[in-house]
């Protein structure tokens, strides 16, 4: 039966291979490996295992095609930079009737508002251009709220 070395545990040897051991302990274990055949064998086994694992991971990562992912990310970045009408339409999905309804509603509201405000004549309800009377006195005034024009005449005879 092979004699076992108790100077360093297998866990410490594994940490040494993974460069996770404290420096003074790593130096001591490194010196010990030059002298102890048994511990060096364990370290070699751990090293071989670590190399095999690293090679496998590298191989698997190399198999992943990142081009499509990069393209998608670039597109998303570009879109967030400039919001367009297309983005707005996107909120309504691909339904053309929904889009048309949306624009028709906006159009109707705009037209009604335009008609109500822009074609509304300001000023009094009537502008009196001339008054001609022989037997009456005349007064012209307007109401405060609606600016409704009133002509008041009083017959004198």
């Amino acid at each position: 039966m092979e004699q076992r070395c108790n100077t360093f545990s297998t866990e410490q040897i594994s940490q040494f291979i993974d460069n996770e051991l404290e420096q003074d302990l790593a130096d001591a274990l490194s010196a010990h490996l030059n002298e102890c055949e048994r511990c060096r064998q364990i370290a070699d086994q751990y090293q071989a295992l670590s190399n095999a694992f690293q090679a496998h991971v590298t191989h698997q990562v190399d198999k992943i095609d990142t081009t499509a992912l990069t393209t998608a990310l670039n597109k998303a970045e570009h879109r967030s930079g400039q919001r367009s009408w297309k983005d707005l339409f996107g909120r309504f999905g691909q339904n053309i009737y929904l889009k048309l309804s949306f624009f028709t509603a906006i159009l109707v509201i705009s037209l009604v508002s335009f008609q109500a405000n822009w074609f509304k004549t300001t000023g009094p309800s009537a502008i009196v251009q001339s008054v001609d009377t022989s037997d009456a006195s005349v007064m012209i005034f307007e109401t405060q709220k609606e600016k409704h024009t009133i002509i008041w005449f009083t017959e004198t005879s």
Partner: protein
């Protein structure tokens, strides 16, 4: 410009043209209300409620009764006549459009004598009130509304 936007632009222009008021060659609808205003009671005829709310802000009368209401469909320069109490008559003639206002020639006669003439520019779809002639215990008010198409 996308096809969708072209269609939308076309619809917009079309709607704007359809809804823009056009007065040319049109007729004028003139509505004349003859109102008897007094302090006899607190009665206001149902059909006068909208008109009277404004009149009440300037007149002390408490009773407003509709004596006569006449709707005239006129061409420009076509005279319309409304009979008034007390052997009076009201002649109202739309003569032209000036911007969005209708130019009216209004004449009140007592018998065959003209007692009052005026020329006004009435806002389209709005009205003017002419008042003053004594009648019974109150006065007469003439509310003239014009609407051109």
């Amino acid at each position: 410009m996308g096809k969708f936007f072209k269609i939308l632009l076309f619809i917009s222009i079309g709607c704007s043209l359809v809804t823009t008021p056009l007065y040319a060659e049109g007729t004028v609808n003139t509505n004349v209300k003859v109102i008897y205003a007094s302090t006899d009671s607190n009665h206001v005829d149902a059909g006068l409620k909208n008109d009277v709310s404004e009149l009440k802000s300037v007149f002390r009368y408490t009773s407003y009764r509709l004596i006569n209401s006449q709707a005239l469909r006129q061409q420009f320069n076509q005279q319309g006549q409304v009979q008034l109490p007390g052997n009076r008559s009201l002649m109202v003639t739309p003569t032209s459009m000036q911007g969005k206002r209708i130019r009216y020639q209004i004449n009140i006669q007592k018998g065959s004598k003209s007692i009052f003439q005026t020329q006004v520019l009435l806002k389209n779809n709005d009205s003017i009130t002419i008042g003053g002639p004594q009648y019974e215990n109150g006065v007469l008010l003439f509310n003239i509304m014009g609407s051109a198409r």
